[in-house]
């Protein structure tokens, strides 16, 4: 009995959907745009978070020791630093390894390669790379290290917090997020209105049916059900259509975007594909709720028996 009624409600909903096919298409288009702006907002969030955290992971304090510094001294310094609060990790790079890395990074530059080879003995000293548990703690750690009075053995303490880049990224991403939010809110409001209007038109077109249903004792839910289902259909179709388009578009965007993100080692496409069901599910649920709200308003008192 319940399933039978549900089946009939779905049939009525589909009939209504098809009867006003153009209106249905306009409604779906608006919903697609809403989902588009929502997706942009989500992805911009993800991308900038990735960018910032990737840069933050590169931040460290490097202590460059003089060449030929004795290993005990370096180890001793390492032990001292490890006792400082908020130090998460210290990497000991021996002089030999440092040279390897230097050669590796300049493998293209034959001039430098030659120069290094000519020198015969290792011009580089060992390095300690200090990582803090949090970004904010670097200044404090740096101050502590400087208090150790290790100027004699340490040639240079290198600390770059990439503050400028991070600020820049955050600034740009804030702008994009604001715009995305503005776009999302605008489209959300528009789709609320459009769905409201579509359901109103649906009620108007079906006013005879609705009146007869009331007259012959159809329950409230039977009268409202088809319109609610219709609005949910718009949400489902909107989501599906957007993601089909987006999936096709991704093929074209991929090369462009992957170049852009090369530096931060982040693959947008694989992120999207990996989290597809989360994003899709979130958007679907959000848009369905949205449509239920606006169709509920449209049904309002109008369909009371």
């Amino acid at each position: 009995m319940f399933l039978l009624s549900l089946a009939r409600i779905f049939r009525f909903a589909f009939q209504s959907f098809l009867r006003n096919i153009w209106l249905s298409l306009v409604t779906i288009t608006i919903i697609v745009m809403t989902i588009f702006s929502l997706t942009i907002l989500i992805l911009v969030n993800v991308v900038t978070d990735q960018a910032v955290s990737s840069i933050k992971s590169k931040v460290d304090i490097s202590l460059y020791f003089e060449a030929q510094t004795k290993e005990e001294i370096v180890i001793d310094t390492k032990d001292q630093i490890s006792k400082i609060d908020h130090v998460k990790n210290i990497e000991y790079v021996s002089a030999a390894v440092a040279l390897e890395r230097f050669k590796a990074t300049h493998s293209q530059d034959s001039l430098i390669q030659d120069a290094v080879d000519e020198m015969g003995e290792n011009p580089l000293g060992p390095v300690l790379v200090v990582k803090a548990d949090e970004m904010n703690n670097y200044p404090l750690i740096l101050k502590n290290i400087k208090d150790f009075k290790i100027d004699e053995v340490v040639k240079e303490i290198d600390y770059d917090d990439h503050q400028l880049i991070i600020q820049k990224i955050e600034l740009i991403s804030d702008k994009i997020k604001q715009f995305g939010l503005f776009l999302s809110i605008t489209f959300t409001l528009i789709s609320l209105l459009v769905v409201f209007n579509t359901i109103r038109v649906g009620i108007y077109v079906h006013r005879d049916e609705v009146n007869i249903m009331k007259l012959v004792g159809a329950s409230n839910w039977f009268i409202r059900g088809p319109f609610l289902v219709e609005s949910i259909l718009y949400a489902i179709f909107g989501c599906l259509i957007f993601w089909i388009i987006f999936y096709i578009a991704i093929g074209f965007i991929n090369p462009l975007v992957s170049g852009f993100f090369a530096d931060i080692n982040f693959n947008l496409i694989s992120y999207v594909l990996h989290n597809f069901w989360y994003i899709f599910g979130f958007e679907l649920v959000a848009v369905i709720l949205l449509n239920i709200v606006s169709s509920a308003f449209a049904l309002g008192r109008h369909l009371k028996v």
Binding site: M1, E209, I212, V216, G217, S219, N220
Partner: protein, 226 residues
């Protein structure tokens, strides 16, 4: 069967459509309600099917006090009261059978039951041969009979007809009234709202006359007195 007790109905801002109406209609009666236009006949019916609520007074249908009936119970009430109107209220894109079946579908009846009941009620109104036609392929009288068939699908105890013959010529009117009498003889209480003097006089049944929202006459085997 039906009690109206001290019923007042006021439409905002200040139309007093019914003024202290008291009625008791017994099971199986055939009652004609007459009166000039705008005297509250349709309002009386709207109160009965809970489309409107009385401003004052009490309405009882089959022992059920529907004065303050909650919305979720209204459909149950409406399945017990068949209603037909002057304009038939048929769906033009549905066949006769589909129009009748619609009333059962929206009440959640099974297809098996629908296929059983639809031919039965079409037989009662004498349209079993025309089930596949669309409303526009029928005469006015036939359309009204489809509407009556639809009102019978839930086997209502009460059938209310608001000027059912208003759009019909005298032959079709005669047929509809005969049909209502036949349904009455099968045990259904009938409330017939009409303007038609001949119909009322020929019926020789109870006649309630309304004027300006008040009952001015209520006679067994009455005549059209206006």
């Amino acid at each position: 069967m039906i009690y109206f007790k001290n019923i007042n109905k006021k439409y905002p801002p200040d139309t007093l459509a019914l003024n202290d109406v008291n009625l008791h209609i017994k099971p199986g009666e055939f009652v004609s309600i007459v009166g000039q236009s705008g005297t509250g006949k349709t309002t009386l019916i709207k109160l009965l099917i809970a489309e409107e609520k009385p401003t004052k007074g009490k309405i009882i249908v089959g022992g059920w006090d529907i004065t303050d009936i909650p919305g979720r119970h209204v459909p149950i009430l409406r399945r017990q009261i068949g209603v037909v109107f002057q304009d038939y209220k048929l769906l033009p894109k549905k066949t006769v059978m589909e129009n009748v079946a619609f009333a059962l579908q929206v009440a959640g009846e099974t297809n098996v039951k629908i296929e059983k009941i639809v031919p039965q009620v079409l037989k009662i109104v004498g349209l079993e041969e025309k089930g596949k036609r669309f409303p526009e392929q029928l005469s006015g009288g036939e359309q009204q009979r489809v509407s009556i068939a639809r009102s019978l699908v839930h086997r209502p105890k009460i059938l209310v007809a608001d000027e059912p013959t208003g759009n019909l010529d005298s032959i079709n009117t005669r047929e509809i009234i005969d049909l209502l009498q036949k349904i009455n003889e099968l045990g259904t209480t009938i409330l017939l709202v009409t303007h038609n003097r001949e119909v009322v006089n020929a019926l020789r049944k109870r006649v309630i006359t309304l004027e300006a929202g008040a009952v001015i006459s209520d006679q067994e085997k009455g005549k059209y007195i206006l």
